[in-house]
Symmetry: C2
Subunit: 214 residues, 2 copies
Amino acid sequence: MTDKPLSGRKAQAARNDKLILEAAHEVFVNDPEAPIAEVAKRAGVGISALYRRYPSKEDLLRKLAGDGLRRYMELAREAVESEAEPWEAFRTFMRAVVVADTPSITVRLAGTFTPSPDMFQAAMEGDALNKAMLARFKSAGVLREDVENGDLQMVTESVSSITIGDAERTREARLRILELHLQALRAPGAAPLPGSPVTDEEMGARWIPKGVKE
Amino acid sequence: MTDKPLSGRKAQAARNDKLILEAAHEVFVNDPEAPIAEVAKRAGVGISALYRRYPSKEDLLRKLAGDGLRRYMELAREAVESEAEPWEAFRTFMRAVVVADTPSITVRLAGTFTPSPDMFQAAMEGDALNKAMLARFKSAGVLREDVENGDLQMVTESVSSITIGDAERTREARLRILELHLQALRAPGAAPLPGSPVTDEEMGARWIPKGVKE
DNA sequence: TCCGGAACAGAGCGGTTCATTCTGTTGGTG
DNA sequence: CACCAACAGAATGAACCGCTCTGTTCCGGA
């Protein structure tokens, strides 16, 4: 048989690895505060199958956020290196980010766990990538000069906050609203933007765990 | 003295009425799931002062959402009846909605309480108002033809999901991103929008209380 | 065929978090 | 000066949830 035989504890365990990650992704994107039992149910496994793989809920969340971050950087890198027509490359990137839902998985999860050092590291690299991307598309003349890194973050995040009906419908609605943004983002821009862009410091402040009250 | 004397149980009670509502607004806009004690603390009153006025947390939330809805309709009515230049009237409306944070107070709170019949009623009227508004601005030629009611809702909601730094900074950031949207919303529009607008039914589905899982 | 143990299902434990109730306390008012 | 509306905040009881623990299944080797 070309595909893995369905039996064997090893095989089932490998399958469960994937099932659990997928379930966790779906569940926590939908509700970052969901109980871990929800993940188990969705994955069709018992709770102990989860704890066999991740020492704690926080570890699982870290894993998810890390994957999301990595995915985002992958997309950004593709955008920077893309050979395609610049505006199309940019549009493709933005759409991919929305479809992959990386804002939900990184930003919305931020604060529910303490980030590991290498996540900070990765975040740094991500920033550098973002800046390179901005520079590239601006100098290509397809992105208006007055948008900054933070603007793009805000756009993808706010678009990703849209939830309506099932997952597919949500995706469609998000892409529709994203399109509005894209048309406004395109150079030269109809009118100057008010206020100042969100800074990296401001963005970073959200990664501080819980209790910021008062 | 022209203003109310500071003493008198009646006077204090009246003052507390307002304090509590303001505190509740701030607290629940920031976190719809906040404990009721948080509201009491912010208002600088005891818990019993809250329960003296509202039989339960849910009643308080209903009150807040009702007020928000009413406020929204007020703004919409102004926009429809405004004598100002059409595009400015529309822009003013959108900005006012974002500043007043009505999406947070209605939509985000939806699901945390069971809506009263008159809220449905009000929602109906709100819809009618929205439609009138769309019609007016489209026929004035300032709003692109392919945006629908649901689009405006999505725009204000997604923009209102932005949170960054303190309240003031958040407002500025939201208005900035809103501006992008506005420039894209303006007729005739650079390119057709993909997908179909979110429908009223879809919007309404979110008002169904809790447990929609699975 | 039979046994050991990896992998697992899910009940149960212990801690925490609220909404709401209850026990006083205070200060205007008749 | 006694009474009570109005209040502060502790106490209560019911979830909820992360994690541990018990018991089960069934693959893989002898």
